[in-house]
């Protein structure tokens, strides 16, 4: 599903010098895969995920998503592709403070071609499935961290992406809450969703099918 060839990401350091965050990344992810990216702090894990999520455009190399050659796409086409295929879960949840749970879930749909009734139905489904119907009119600050991240995951998958990217989704959670999220991920993966997650914990990584180690921007083993 994903094919990365010689992908590189660097930041300008001083005059004509560059600091390489990612180097010669070659990676293949099959449809239905569940990959955990691990590595020390500063290794470039988040950077990789944001490139996969097409938030970051300042890289070089080749990135194929299914048949699409992302490195040849214009920003607008990338955005369309991302909206169709990808969901993203953030470490800091990044729910919008001024919107209720219901409204937060509705955002991704409002940015895609859904009719009003479809949106209502999808949000209702999602609330049911994550068992947060009772919380739909609450604001994020009225939820626990685990509940917030639950909403974050729900929001990421509500538009039915084929690929779910998660950057330390349980980093700020108690282990029991983390387990809950991981179980959820496993279920989603069983249903056919491809998942790439960044994690520090061996335990969380074990939920995945494959582990990739990043060190100083290099993939060390597979």
């Amino acid at each position: 599903m994903i094919r990365l060839r010689n992908l590189e990401r660097s930041y300008p350091l001083a005059k004509e010098k560059f600091f390489y965050v990612l180097r010669e990344i070659n990676l293949d992810v099959q449809e239905g895969d569940f990959i955990s990216v691990m590595g020390p702090s500063g290794a470039g894990k988040s950077t990789l995920l944001h490139i996969l999520g097409m938030h970051d455009h300042g890289w070089r190399g080749e990135y194929f998503l299914d048949e699409a050659a992302v490195h040849h796409l214009k920003p607008k086409e990338r955005a369309t592709l991302r909206n169709e295929q990808i969901g993203f879960v953030f470490q800091q949840y990044h729910l919008l403070d001024d919107l209720t749970v219901y409204e937060n879930l509705d955002i991704p749909l409002s940015y895609r071609r859904y009719s009003k009734s479809e949106r209502a139905a999808l949000v209702a489904d999602m609330l049911d499935r994550f068992q947060i119907v009772g919380k739909k009119d609450l604001y994020p600050r009225q939820l626990s961290g685990g509940q917030q991240q639950l909403v974050g995951v729900a929001r990421a998958i509500i538009a039915a992406p084929k690929l779910l990217l998660a950057d330390e989704p349980t980093g700020n959670l108690h282990s029991s809450q983390g387990e809950e999220i991981m179980e959820l991920f496993r279920k989603l993966n069983d249903e056919g969703m491809t998942i790439v997650q960044v994690t520090h914990s061996e335990k969380n990584a074990s939920y995945g099918k494959r582990i990739i180690q990043l060190r100083d921007g290099w993939i060390v083993n597979k």
Binding site: F88, F90, H94
Partner: protein, 834 residues
């Protein structure tokens, strides 16, 4: 200690501001406009209301008037009262104890002077002998008036103003004792007043009152008979209060009313007020203060704008402040640093403001000087000590108004909160709401101001484009006054008119010449009249119209044809057979297609019945009331000037040049021609009617210009205000935009989001502003305010839409930049924000 840290804060402040050039420029511009406006207006208030006279103890100078409690404010001279007869002044002066001195005067009078065969007209004062003594100013050359000078029948004397002494009397040091003629009588110059003295308003020459207008004994006086009764002023005895003086004069007024019912029965009360109030009416003073209030409101809006911008910056600097806090700065210390920055901005604003004030005062003074009626001499619009103190005070207030709240709120967040909420607390939500409401109010105000300005400008333009019914630039006009001394009787004046008409028409320079009662070829009489065959049940049924007294050949001199019947002749004399000429509107209104000739009309005056006049001619319509009148329709009629009784004292002469010559070059020829008829008779207010009309409108042009300036300032302020608020909100929502983008929002959608927020504020503001003005003009004060407008529909939708369109454009531009910035948010940066 504090001073030390202050100096450091200023240094840091300057550095931060220099880095933030756009903020700095906008804030200084906005505060400069606000402070400049307030300084300008305060200079005006200071000149007109506060500074007052520079005489010793000006606060003791009072004006005195008798009041008719049953009459309207207007008839009581707006609360100042009148002195019904000169005898009342004498009786009051003899009986009162509150004043150490009293004086009477007639100000702004025409005084004709001939010096070395050169006749001149001056604005002068007829004064009692104590006028200069009471204010404590003496002539610098020669002597003051004495009681003997003021006696009727005494040798006539005059004191010159400094300006005319230099200009027209060659600054002759030996001027005292030289002979001149005043109003046709021999007189002697006895003194010259100091420079810059034109008391009480703008007089340039003074001569004793009773010598020119001998007071009549009580027995000869009737109620309401004009007796050249003077205005009266007094100087309070030390220790006497205004209330005590009022009490005394009210008691005196009651006595006078009881003792002299023939003249005084209605004047049962009195009013003693500061002299300055007598010269600048209550209404006018309120207007001046009101404008200061308006300008301070504008300054407040400016402060709110800067406050909004400060909020925006504070949001950006949340992290810096949090770190400073974490490193041990107290909240008060942070507030002080932010306030110091505000002060630095405000000081730059004040410097810009004073420059703006100098510039706008220069403009204002030049505008005032183009007015056809001179301003009081003591109005000096200069930026002096008190004005600068005012500027410093409002600058400090502006600092606090624009800086304190942002400083306080942004210094509140502690480091932990900052981490948790990304620099946004609940307080910022409140601030958000406040700033949005303020911007809405500001747009409403701007919309209102712009609509009012556009209406006013349209009015003035309509006035400038008026068709007067004749070519205003094809004739030359000048005014003259036949004074009692030279022309004591009706016959003497009639004789002069005939001689003048003959002389002017014989002059080879003029193709034709005529005379009219019309003042500056602009205003003339207006009133009720009657037409034969009509029944009038009540007084109010009688129609209103314009009328004018003119000589023969008046219409041909203006280039108009008699439509029907004939022109006046020298033989049309009221005492033999009173006649009239009506204009086309008049004829059409009463007789339609039939002839008006032979019908009769008369002026309605129940107190002094006027003769019925037979209509002998019909002429085309002309604008008879200048550029202001829009109530009376064009119905009007003319009466013979040469045969009028009593014969008028003041009149306008008109000359039409020979073909090929310009009318506006006729000035010297006309004064020479008049001098040949009477070498002591000066002409004044000379020029083409076109020029007069232009001058008459200059007051309105000033108002229109002021409106335009206010409009532009308000325009800039609301643009900056909207920009500030949108900028602030975009900065605050950086992370939100990043998340929304990560969740799939494209640039267009983010852009629309920001623009929509601006659009809501705009729409609400526009509706409030336009609705407010529409309500003001359309419903609330229709009658009063419509006088301000000239042939403009106060609810003209095109004006409303034009203003709405303009504001929308500006709002779009000022939202565009922040909206664009919102679309440029890098989701990477926003999402990494921790």
């Amino acid at each position: 200690m504090i001073l030390d840290s202050f100096r450091q804060d200023v240094r840091v402040g300057l550095r931060v501001l220099f880095k933030d050039k756009i903020f700095c420029f906008l804030a200084v511009l906005v505060l400069g406009l606000g402070i400049g406006g307030a300084t300008t207006q305060f200079t005006i208030v200071n000149a007109i209301v506060l500074r007052g006279f520079s005489f010793p103890h000006p606060e003791q100078l009072m004006s005195v008037g008798l009041i008719d409690p049953k009459a309207s404010d207007q008839n009581n001279n707006f609360g100042l009262g009148n002195i019904p007869t000169a005898q009342d002044y004498e009786d009051l002066k003899a009986a009162q104890k509150s004043f150490s001195m009293m004086a009477g005067y007639l100000s702004g009078s025409t005084i004709n002077v001939t010096y070395k065969n050169n006749p001149q007209r001056y604005t002068g004062g007829y004064v009692t002998e104590d006028l200069f003594k009471i204010i404590g100013v003496s002539p610098v050359i020669g002597r003051d008036f004495t009681a003997a000078d003021n006696k009727p029948g005494a040798e006539k004397v005059a004191i010159l103003g400094d300006e005319i002494w230099r200009r027209d009397f060659n600054a002759d040091p030996n001027i005292v004792g030289q002979g001149i003629r005043i109003n046709g009588k021999a007189a002697t110059i006895i003194g010259v007043m100091p420079p810059n003295f034109k008391f009480p308003i703008s007089e340039e020459l003074w001569t004793p009152l009773y010598n020119e207008f001998p007071p009549q004994p009580r027995g000869d006086l009737r109620l309401g008979a004009s007796n050249n009764a003077p205005a009266v002023m007094g100087r309070l005895q030390p220790g006497v209060t205004l209330d005590q003086a009022n009490a005394e004069f009210i008691a005196l007024a009651r006595h006078l009313a009881k003792d002299n019912p023939k003249t005084n029965q209605n004047f049962t009360s009195a009013s003693v007020q500061p002299l300055l109030h007598a010269f600048t009416g209550t209404q006018f003073r309120q207007q001046v203060w009101g404008m200061l209030a308006a300008v301070i409101l504008v300054l407040l809006i400016a402060c709110v704008n800067v406050m909004n911008m400060q909020f925006g910056r504070a949001a950006l600097r949340a992290k810096e402040l949090a770190i400073r806090g974490a490193l041990g700065a107290t909240r008060w210390r942070l507030v002080r640093q932010m306030l110091t920055e505000s002060l630095v901005v405000a000081v730059f604003g004040a410097i810009a403001g004073v420059i703006i004030a100098y510039w706008s005062l220069d403009f204002f003074v030049r505008a005032i000087n183009t007015l056809p009626f001179p301003a009081p001499y003591y109005w000096r619009f200069t930026i002096d000590g008190p004005v600068l103190v005012f500027t410093v005070v409002i600058t400090l207030l502006a600092t606090i108004a624009s800086g304190l709240v942002p400083a306080f709120l942004s210094a509140r967040g502690n480091a932990a909160e900052m981490m948790k909420e990304g620099g946004r607390g609940n307080s910022s939500r409140l601030v958000n709401a406040i700033t949005r409401v303020l911007v809405v109010a500001q747009i409403a105000l701007t919309a209102g101001l712009l609509i009012a300005a556009t209406l006013e400008i349209t009015s003035v333009r309509n006035q400038m484009k008026l068709d007067y019914g004749y070519d205003e630039n094809a004739v030359y006009a000048a005014r003259m006054g036949l004074m009692e001394g030279a022309y004591p009787s009706d016959d003497a004046r009639r004789e002069f008119f005939k001689r003048a008409a003959r002389g002017l028409r014989a002059n080879p320079q003029f193709e034709s010449a005529a005379m009219s009662s019309r003042f500056r070829m602009t205003f003339d009489a207006q009133g009720q009249y009657e037409v034969d065959g009509q029944n009038y049940l009540t007084d109010r049924d009688r129609p209103r119209g314009n009328f004018e007294s003119v000589s023969d050949n008046y219409f041909s001199a203006l280039g108009l044809k008699i439509l029907e019947g004939r022109d006046f002749t020298v033989d049309d004399v009221d005492s033999k057979q009173p006649v009239a000429i009506v204009n086309a509107s008049f004829a059409r209104k009463y007789w339609g297609n039939q002839s008006a000739i032979g019908h009769q009309l008369r002026i309605f005056n129940p107190g002094q019945p006027q003769p019925w006049r037979t209509i002998v001619g019909v002429v085309p319509d002309m604008l008879m009331q200048g550029p202001f009148d829009q109530q009376t329709n064009s119905v009007g009629f003319y009466m013979p000037l040469l045969g009028a009784s009593p014969a008028p004292q003041f009149l306008t002469i008109l000359a039409r040049p020979r073909a090929g010559q310009q009318a506006d070059t006729l000035g010297p020829a006309l004064s020479r021609a008049v001098a040949e008829i009477d070498s002591n008779l000066p002409t004044y207010f000379a020029g083409t009617p076109g020029r007069f009309h232009n001058e008459i409108l200059s007051g309105n042009r000033i108002i229109a210009t002021l409106f335009t300036i206010f409009g532009i300032v308000a325009f800039i302020l609301s643009a900056v205000g909207l920009y500030g608020v949108m900028s602030f909100s975009v900065n605050q929502r950086t992370q939100e935009f990043g998340i929304r983008m990560a969740l799939g929002a494209d640039a267009a959608r983010i852009f629309r989001m920001v623009m929509t927020q601006g659009a809501w504020q705009l729409v609400i503001g526009l509706i409030l502003g336009a609705g407010g003005i529409a309500l003001l003009f359309g419903v609330v004060a229709a009658a009063a305010l419509k006088n301000i407008l000239f042939k403009v529909n106060a609810l003209d939708p095109t004006i409303y839409f034009a203003v709405a369109g303009m504001l929308t454009l500006v709002a779009a531009i000022s939202c565009f930049v922040p909206a664009r910035r919102a679309t440029r948010v890098d989701p990477m940066v926003a999402l990494r924000y921790e």
